[in-house]
Amino acid sequence: MERQPLILQILNILSAVLLAIAACLVFFYAPLELVMGNVQKIFYFHVANAWVGMLGFVAAAVAGIAYLRTHDMKWDILEMAAVEISLVFFLIAIVTGSIWAYPAWGTWWTWDPRLTTAAILEMIYLAYLLLRQGIEDPERRARFGAVYTLIGGLSVPLTFLSIRLFRTIHPALIGTASSAAQGGFDMSAPMKLTFFFSLFTFSLIFVVLLWHRIRLGRLAEKVEQLKLNVMQ
């Protein structure tokens, strides 16, 4: 196996360092929120995780379209990588959200648009993985995967909209009058710094993970090819 390129090695270490700094910022630098206290600190990583999940979701849909246009396997590998990363990060976002929601809303889960949409996204990803598992031919698997991410990419915004037509209690970050009552808050300057730092850190982690997963995907493709050669 080829060695990791130098930039990737640097990024590995950089993302670990940045994650440690981000954690320090969250615990020691960011001020305590007046109403919610300590539990509010989970917000920095919660939003960053959800953000990475969104990045993966968009990347997968774009890679799906690119695959259908070019029939180039590299897009399929990117799509698979993006879906898997997005699946994990949305799960983390849901769990951290629940940890925050219990003290803030008094319940682990509500059928709010954002929560429901995140849950539906997880379902779509699991269905996607099951679909891929059931198909042996790599080229057909790639085509079906691309079509399904495309359909998912279109239906998820509509799901969000359809549930938004009910009332929502999830706090909106840019404060509306009622958001304070739902657990929203205004961010002070140190909070903003911590927040954007975490966001940047997790975006970097996303890139690093994506890179590793694409390398793994290429290897898997090679193994599959070798297997086919042996069988012939």
Partner: protein, 244 residues
């Protein structure tokens, strides 16, 4: 005299093939008609969907204790769950028949655009769905003494079924080509068809409860938007699903 050769060939092709839209529509009806004729003789798909739909309603009766008070709020939900479950049964079967007996390969050999196959199958699936709905509605009305003959409700059912079948036909043609096909379709279909189910249940419920049109309109708009988007997208990607 100088004549443009392309206009001649174009003219000639017009004589033999009529207009492109006309031949497209004729091919679509031919495929849909083939399905309906086969079903008319065997009746295996419709009878399975119908019996299943009635069983689902029966189960709901015991699961939810459909007394008079609950009935008024859950009727829309019960109906749509029934349609969705019976629908997957029909979609799966209708595509499996094509795949098993090699009919799909035959259809793909036909010198027509691939989307013709999609629209033909979607129309026949839609007709099956409508037939099941047309029987389930009066049966439910009689069994639970609820009047479901409401023009608005029928409109919602039409719109919802179109969206459901538009995505369902596309996904079913993918699912039957996978190893795990019998279990795959509902898993693929339900998470992406959720907006249709939410909107259809809310709109049906609103109509049954006699809410004002202004409260129901957003759901109807959502249904229409979903139908248009997914018919268009299925039209565009169906080629990739049946490509060999």
């Amino acid at each position: 005299m100088k004549r443009n050769p392309s206009s001649i060939t174009h003219h000639a092709s017009r004589i033999t093939h009529h207009s492109p839209l006309g031949s497209f529509l004729r091919a679509v009806t031919a495929i849909a008609w083939k399905d309906l004729a086969a079903e008319l003789r065997s009746r295996e798909l419709l009878s399975a969907m119908l019996v299943f739909a009635l069983l689902v309603i029966l189960i709901f009766n015991f699961a939810l204790e459909l007394d008079f008070k609950t009935r008024s709020t859950v009727t829309a939900g019960v109906l749509w769950v029934t349609f969705a479950f019976a629908g997957t049964l029909g979609l799966n079967r209708s595509m499996a028949i094509e795949k098993d007996r090699g009919c799909l390969d035959g259809l793909l050999l036909a010198p027509v655009d691939r989307s013709v196959i999609y629209f033909g199958k979607a129309i026949s699936n839609l007709v099956f769905m409508f037939i099941v709905e047309a029987i389930v509605l009066p049966v439910y009305s009689v069994l639970y003494n609820t009047n479901l003959f409401n023009l608005g409700l029928i409109g919602v059912i039409l719109l919802g079924s179109v969206g459901y079948v538009a995505v369902g036909t596309l996904l079913a043609s993918m699912a039957v080509q996978a190893r795990t096909r019998d279990v795959l379709l509902p898993i693929l279909l339900f998470p992406v068809v959720l907006p249709v189910l939410v909107a259809a249940v809310k709109a049906s419920n609103g109509l049954l409860q006699g809410l004002e049109m202004a409260e129901i309109m957003p759901w109807l708009n959502l249904l229409i938007v979903y139908d248009v988007i997914f018919i268009a997208i299925a039209f565009m990607v169906f080629d990739y699903v049946v490509e060999e």
